[in-house]
């Protein structure tokens, strides 16, 4: 066994045998995912939602007056509107200018609307598009897993190394021929494998009965997950570099993770938020992970589309590592 393997092995055994921490790392995200899927599950209102554009006073469509139908007006036809129909956020879209209407052939609401509106829309061209509905949980699952990754990386590396420094484990290591770089790399590797396996397990496990939408590549999801974990561990190392007090470390980490969770769009979209807030969220690794994961899962984005997020995460990782290595002290 070489030095590196021995250090990784010891740290991993320490984690696996600490049952409390181990199960908490696994159970916490599962409970959140399931909880959210129940709390914001399907059902909701029974209204039909019809998007319209080019609607004039003399336009046909007495069905638009029905109280069970919500009409949402758009300026003109756009890819955005079609995307909303694809995701079942609209049940029908009518463009009066071009005398065209669009339905989603995977939506039962669309099917009913075809019957209700059929007579009045004679002469209109029908278009069908397909798409599964997006549930809140499909949208939220990357955020919940990402949040768990953030906790696990910060506390599992940053906090643990501060504890090692305080109780003398680091000093004992300093007295051996182990270099700081090797020791830290071993800590990172152990935590990297643990968090990656935990995240994949939580996703796969909850996916068994929640059937998340994944339009893009699973491999790409794995890649950004791995990259995000590296980035978050490196971030944690900055705390680990020099701090000596567990209380201060824990306080600082909570101070930083709290806004990250709020402003990275874990639970709600930042689309309507003030611009400065949206910009501020871009400095957080979690934001980039969530953006990229959602793009792959929901929009089926490929490598090219999420390249900006990948580049930012990689750049942050390198930056954090450089800062951490400059600050690092054994004692």
């Amino acid at each position: 066994m070489n030095k590196f393997t021995a250090l990784v092995r010891a740290r991993t055994m320490e984690f696996l045998r600490d049952r409390g921490t181990f199960f908490w790392n696994l159970l916490f995200p599962v409970i959140l995912v399931i909880g959210f899927s129940f709390a914001f599950g399907s059902g909701g209102d029974s209204l039909f939602k019809i998007g319209v554009s080019g609607l004039k006073d003399d336009s046909r469509g007495t069905f638009l007056e029905l109280s069970s139908i919500e009409v949402i007006a758009y300026d003109s036809k756009s890819a955005d509107v079609i995307e909303k129909l694809r995701r079942h956020q609209l049940d029908m879209y009518i463009d009066f200018d071009s005398m065209t209407y669009y339905l989603n052939d995977e939506s039962s609401s669309s099917e009913i609307l075809r019957i209700i509106t059929g007579a009045e829309l004679s002469g209109f061209t029908e278009n069908e598009i397909s798409g599964e509905p997006i549930r809140y949980i499909d949208w939220a699952v990357p955020g919940i897993i990402g949040m768990n990754m953030l906790f696990s990386c910060l506390f599992g590396v940053g906090f643990v190394i501060v504890r090692y420094r305080k109780n003398g484990v680091l000093k004992r290591m300093k007295a051996t021929p182990v270099s700081p770089l090797l020791f830290i790399t071993a800590q990172m590797s152990s935590r990297f494998v643990i968090v990656l396996i935990t995240s994949v397990a939580v996703f796969t496990g909850t996916n068994l009965f929640l059937h998340f939408i994944v339009n893009g590549s699973y491999l790409l999801l794995l890649l950004i997950t791995a990259l995000a974990i590296l980035c978050m561990i490196s971030f944690g190392l900055i705390f680990a570099a020099r701090l000596k007090s567990e209380e201060l470390t824990s306080g600082l980490m909570n101070l930083l993770t709290f806004p990250m969770i709020i402003f990275s769009g874990v639970f709600f979209s930042l689309e309507g938020a003030p611009v400065f807030m949206q910009k501020a969220s871009k400095v957080m690794p979690l934001t980039h992970f969530i953006e990229a994961a959602r793009a792959v899962m929901i929009d089926g984005a490929g490598l090219i589309q999420i390249m900006p997020n990948i580049l930012v995460l990689s750049g942050m990782t390198v930056g954090f590592l450089i800062i951490a290595s400059m600050l690092f002290r054994w004692d």
Binding site: M1, N2, K3, T5, A6, L7, R9, A10, R11, M13, E14, R17, D18, Y164, N167, G168, V169, K171, R172, K174, A175, T176, P177, V178, D331
Partner: protein
């Protein structure tokens, strides 16, 4: 005997406290050297500079006549005063971890044998008693087959039985011709284990020699100690005041006792004995080692 390790004029300052104030000495190969001093004397600071853990403000450390370099850590074994062990892993797993860190480590069987670890080898580190823990830490320290072993107060806090057991282990390691530097504030420990001792106080080295030579050069005959009850006016040849006591080193006990009786000092609490290191320490520093 050539010197294995030599330090020259080591100085270390914390804030405006000079913890180590220009200490120099050398340790010949194969001996056990004891560094004695009260708490806060600078023992730990000195030993940690010699281990390469602390950087001295100034001064040099030579190992085999050369300044210590990065290979030094492979050749020395270290037992700190306080060390936490990795949690949730067993004694054996901890030994295996440290084995992997050195180029030519001892086998687990050797360490179990030398440090009497057989009964606790599969125990979780967190469940070790004080004595078991020190045996285990000694085991970690000897893994690299060190030429030089540093032990910083290895028996502090142990009960007398565990301390004696620990001395036996040190004896075994010494028999392998390993050079040992030990700090302690137990005089009996130094007398049993050490071939040479250095006494330090307030960051300075006061004396250095073998225990018997130190005693014979400072004490001649018997040591009479008696509480002086505030009578600091008493004058005796070879007598000195140390704390609440008057101490007289005498070759003529008969004469000294007569003088004491004449002085009308209350002789309640008087003791006469052959001086030991504890007395020497009191004489040199004016304070008790454990105060």
């Amino acid at each position: 005997m050539s010197d294995l390790i030599r330090i020259e004029n080591l100085i270390k300052t914390y804030g405006n406290v000079r913890a180590v104030d220009g200490i120099s000495f050398s340790i010949p190969e194969g001996i056990c050297f004891g560094l004695l001093g009260p708490n806060g004397a600078g023992k730990t600071t000195t030993i940690e500079m010699m281990e390469g853990i602390l950087k001295p403000d100034s001064g040099e450390i030579y190992f085999h006549g050369r300044k210590i370099d990065r290979h030094f850590k492979q050749k020395v074994g270290i037992q700190f005063q306080n060390t936490a062990l990795p949690e949730f892993i067993t004694v054996k797993e901890t030994l295996e971890l440290f084995q992997a860190l050195y180029p030519n480590p001892r086998t687990i069987e050797e360490i179990i044998e030398i440090c009497s670890l057989a009964d606790i080898i599969d125990r979780d580190n967190r469940k070790l008693s004080g004595g078991q823990r020190q045996r285990m830490l000694l085991g970690l320290a000897i893994i690299p087959r060190p030429e030089m072993l540093f032990l910083d107060e290895p028996t502090t806090g142990l009960d007398p039985q565990a301390r004696r057991n620990f001395w036996e282990l040190i004896g075994k390691i010494k028999a392998e011709n390993t050079t040992i530097l030990l700090t302690t504030h137990y005089m009996d420990e130094a007398e049993v284990l050490c071939d040479q001792i250095g006494i330090i106080d307030q960051g300075k080295l006061l004396e250095i020699d073998s225990p018997s030579k130190l005693l014979s050069s400072h004490f001649d005959g018997a040591l009479v100690r008696v509480p002086h009850f505030g009578r600091e006016d008493l004058v005796f040849s070879d007598g000195s005041l140390s704390g609440d006591f008057l101490e007289i080193t005498t070759r003529n006990l008969d004469k000294t006792m007569k003088e004491l009786l004449q002085s009308e000092l209350n002789l309640e609490g008087l003791s006469i004995k052959k001086p030991n290191l504890e007395d020497l320490f009191l004489k040199l520093t004016g304070t008790s080692l454990r105060s």
